[in-house]
Amino acid sequence: MCVLCTGAILQVHWTDRRTAEGAAVPGEDQLRFYRRGRLHRAGLANKILCHYGLKVEDWNGSKFVLSDRKGRQEIIEDLGGLWPAAEKLVGYKLNPLDSVLIGKLKHNV
């Protein structure tokens, strides 16, 4: 539960279970790894999302903000929320098996 926005996190998405639970990591480092991990994730996601005219940014280390070029935005929690939100903004189903997308990715257009 976030005390500022009262957003309850009921479910930890499987992609966020990166380290073994209960693993001891020093406090400061943990935060640094956490922030770096989120930036890394947003960076990688953008390499895919740019083909749909979308962009995702980390917001204060707690949420991600997905936006399109018209300025519409969606607040998302994790990767579980990313793809439905992206579909909502572009207006059609995203398909990673789509040959057009694969072609673009391969030729780095």
Binding site: L10, T15, R17, R18, I48, L94, I102
Partner: protein, 338 residues
């Protein structure tokens, strides 16, 4: 919350008359099984299964009204919450594991989904195994004619072939081949009149993606596609970037969750041990981080079982994503199993 504080759930399913109850009846009588709570799902008005499972009567909560399926999985929530209340109040303090026996027509996926996603239950229970009984005599017939049966086999962690004493040896062999062709990632055991070792049922299934040449040979031999199901094994030689891989897999499951029946494997993400990934359709179990590798080899392997999806598309997509994510040195190798 760590797994240590959660109760393991074993889901026992199988087609009508395939010997679920007989199996449970025998297994629950074995020593060391007194700490098992059994939830039975009755189909029809007479809770016949309930009367058969006499030994466990006290711990049995009868799930009312039909299937444990999307429509009535509230029953499962209620059954498990009721059990949890009793455990917490100390009435059933000795309970260490839970068995859910479903009806013959039930789809196990919603059960897994319910336990993994319910706000309370997810912190108190986890799914350890999905055991599917297959009748040696009628199994092949069911597989060819009943889509429910194929679905059950796909979701299985362990397959128990029952009634092998009643069937001819070559029929059993054919059935085993067909089962392995449908679900190469599951273990296959046999049981005559429910005589299976409780240890088989209540130990976690080996998490290896690639089994043996036998498995590949079996799928080659069977040849014919069963209900458009195909499976593919993907291996990586270098450690994977978990973030990059998670992006690709979450996108794939979001788009094709209905058709990707099963994802299972061991992944090297650079840590001391591998990550066990286990998914049923778009439901992914919380990945398990193992302390160390079970074998010397550190190769990530992953098995996909899917319907109506071309394995080549999966590989092409994964390659393109890996390239985009700048991990070109770690391109996947693929082997189509069927």
């Amino acid at each position: 919350m760590s797994k240590q504080n959660k109760l393991p759930i074993t889901v026992v399913t199988g087609f009508l008359g395939s010997g679920k109850t007989t199996l449970l009846q025998q297994v629950l009588r074995q020593p060391g099984m007194q700490d098992t709570a059994v939830l039975v799902n009755e189909f029809g008005k007479v809770g016949l299964d309930h009367h058969l499972l006499q030994v466990m009567e006290e711990s049995t909560i009868l799930l009312g009204g039909g299937c444990v399926c999307c429509s009535t999985r509230d029953d499962l929530v209620e059954g498990l919450s009721q059990l949890l209340n009793r455990v917490e109040r100390g009435e059933r303090a000795s309970i260490r594991k839970v068995v859910i026996e479903t009806t013959g027509l039930a789809d196990p996926a919603p059960i897994v989904f319910t336990v993994l996603s319910h706000p309370v239950l997810q912190h108190h229970f986890y799914i350890e195994n999905v055991i599917v009984t297959v009748d040696a005599v009628n199994g092949l017939f069911h597989l060819h004619n009943q889509p429910e049966s194929v679905k059950q086999v796909l979701v299985a962690d362990k397959l128990i072939i029952t009634k092998t004493d009643l069937a001819k040896a070559n029929e059993v062999e054919q059935l085993v081949q067909e089962l392995q062709a449908i679900n190469p990632s599951s273990e296959v055991h046999t049981a005559v009149y429910g005589a299976a070792d409780a240890a088989i049922l209540f130990t976690p299934a080996a998490a290896s993606g690639r089994k043996s040449e036998r498995m590949v040979a079996a799928s080659m031999a069977s040849g014919a596609h069963t209900q458009d199901v195909s499976s593919v094994s993907i291996t990586f030689e270098k450690p994977l970037d978990w973030t990059a891989f998670g992006l690709w897999l979450s996108m794939l499951l979001h788009a094709k969750g209905e058709d990707i029946m099963r994802v299972k494997g061991l992944l090297d993400i650079g840590g001391p041990g591998p990550v066990v990934l286990n998914g049923v359709q778009h439901i992914i179990h919380p990945p398990d981080h193992l302390e160390e590798w079970p074998t010397e080899e550190r190769i990530s392997s992953l098995v996909f079982i899917m319907r109506r999806v071309d394995p080549q598309d999966i590989l092409a997509s994964l390659e393109a994503f890996q390239q985009t994510f700048d991990v070109e040195h770690n391109l996947p190798r693929m082997e189509v199993l069927l």
